[in-house]
Amino acid sequence: MEHFTGKFNLEELVYKYRYPLGAVFLLLLLGLPYLGLSQYVMRIIIMIGIYTMLALGLNILTGYTGLVSLGHSGFFAIGAYVTAILMLKLQIHFIPAAFIAMIITGICGLLLGLPTLRLTGTYLSIVTLGFAEIVKMIIMNWEPVTNGTLGLRNIPRPSFFGIDLTLANHGMYYFMLILLFLITFLCIAIKKSKLGRALHAIKENELAASMMGIYTARYKILAFILSAVITGLAGGYYATLVSYIDHNSFTFDVSILILSIVILGGMGTIRGMFFGSILLIVFPEIARPLMEWRFVVYGLVLIFMMRFRPQGLLGWRTTLPFQVPVNAQERQKRSGKHGISRS
């Protein structure tokens, strides 16, 4: 509220110049590898990209629909493992492998969504948490397939036209950009359609939503599936990036990190997912000199954020006028004769 006017101007300004700003941003993203950044920095940037995808995925569930998941590391793991196993053991190309991984994570999303339909709040959160733990147990024990605690090594990089994408040739970076772009587009499309509105309505008041004819159960499941699929894709990409995965890559902390990004950035927003992941991925890197204090500081950051800006850093109610197509606005000018108006 306090920053009302300041943000108003900024938001309007950004909106006004959204095309030139977008173009600059896009050029910057495309040209990033040629700015002479070290591989270390590029790797961090790619990690930011991956976590943005993960956050966008969780955002559909938590931000749009209001279902808090503490177990997204489970979908992340399934996506990574399925992709890696298909590529390693069946020598399938990344694209079909990731595609199958998305289908399987989607099915898992469905399976997790079904029993959680009747659950709310805490109950739902603990079930998602449990799901991730179960996934981890399967990974650790299903040795013939997952290689157990030894993890999977030498996961090949995606290759196109005979060229392996690597960090060095920036292939992995551009590939990440493409995936990120697709996912972002999907999220915007969801948000701006009746699906997005239905999910939001469910979050706000489930009973009222069902009284609007929204099949709340189906939509919640759909949110689960979409969220899982996006997370699974991010997992597949992650596996090929790091080329080694084991159960330790998918712990509870990862789930919490994704959730923190969503909340810190601003639940339900898309801008926030980018901003949140930049913040939370870069933070540990620059905080290295803090050593042990790093986690304490991290904890403090979470606490202070929730205390002073619980809606997230970039979470605010937009003040831009809703875009009503012109001919309707005209009609709106002749103000209503009938209709109870209060003076």
Binding site: T122, I126, V127, L129, F131, N141, W293, G299, L300, L302
Partner: protein
């Protein structure tokens, strides 16, 4: 063998139940999933070994540890959670906050005590008792009795006393409770104190049994205890105890049938199965919402 494993499972379950009671207490009164509970639990045990190392003697160290951990509970609330309640922040904010708190406590403990596993003094010379061919340690029996007492005390407190009525009012609306003349600050502080103290009691009993203490000791048990609390119907003390025991026994069965490696996820499998059939847990009643 089966009997022995059942006893082992019950003993294990008692540990979960002891911790679960704390989750239930804080959730029951404040509708808050306190993710820092596991760290607070570790804090309790560390305080005791600290005081013991300064030659306070075991009993004073335990009392000091329990009180101090209770105070830590109050501190957590005053510093981090009460401002959120004042602003009517959504539940997820408090959840993230308690996770933040958990990081802080755990890492401060690591810095102060190191991450290695340390010994916890034996509370009393424990003996093995043979019941119907199965071996049970006297410490386990003490744990069992302690949690039943804890259950009874808390249930009586919340259900039948005036302060309990105040606690339940605060649960539903802090604002209205205060308008009815209830000192909500005190009630909430009291609840957090009980939550912290119960965590400390749990950790002292459990550490006394295993004699191992380290900063992250609360994580895995904490998660399982949380599952146990939800399984029984979070906010219900008897639910927490039964939930804990069910999970303990289920783990024992799973370990016997499939091997110890499958043990840890049994808690969650059972939890999911139960919640599918009874969405509010074993003893939970469906929330009412008047349309």
């Amino acid at each position: 063998m089966i009997l022995q494993q059942a006893f082992n499972g019950l003993a294990l379950g008692m540990a979960y139940a002891l911790i679960a009671v704390g989750y239930s207490l804080v959730f029951g009164i404040l509708r808050l999933v306190n993710f820092s509970h596991g760290s607070v639990y570790a804090f309790g045990a560390h305080m005791v070994i600290l005081f013991v190392s300064y030659h306070f003697g075991l009993a004073p160290a335990i009392i000091l540890g329990v009180v101090l951990t209770g105070l830590l509970g109050i501190l957590i609330d005053k510093m981090a959670l009460s401002p959120l309640r004042k602003k009517n922040s959504p539940g997820i904010s408090s959840l993230i906050t308690t996770i933040g708190i958990s990081y802080i406590i755990q890492n401060l403990l690591m810095m102060a005590f190191g991450s290695e596993k340390k010994t916890f003094p034996e509370l009393f010379p424990s003996k093995m008792i043979t019941i119907a061919g199965a071996q049970v340690s006297s410490m386990q029996i003490v744990m069992f009795i302690a949690s039943v007492i804890l259950l009874l005390v808390l249930t009586l407190l919340v259900k039948f006393t005036k302060i309990g009525l105040a606690m339940r009012s605060v649960e539903q609306s802090e604002k209205i409770a205060s308008l009815m003349g209830i000192n909500t600050n005190f009630i909430i502080a009291f609840t957090f104190f009980l939550g912290g103290a119960s965590a400390a009691i749990a950790s002292i009993l459990i550490s006394g049994y295993y004699q191992i203490v380290y900063p992250t000791m609360g994580f895995v048990v904490g998660l399982k205890a949380f599952a146990a609390a939800v399984l029984g119907g979070i906010g219900l003390f008897h639910g927490s105890i039964v939930g804990g025991l069910v999970i303990g026994v289920a783990e024992a069965i799973a370990a016997s049938l499939f091997g110890s490696a499958y043990r840890d996820s049994v808690a969650f499998i059972i939890l999911i199965l139960v919640l599918v059939i009874r969405p509010a847990g074993l003893f939970g009643k469906k929330g009412i919402e008047k349309v």
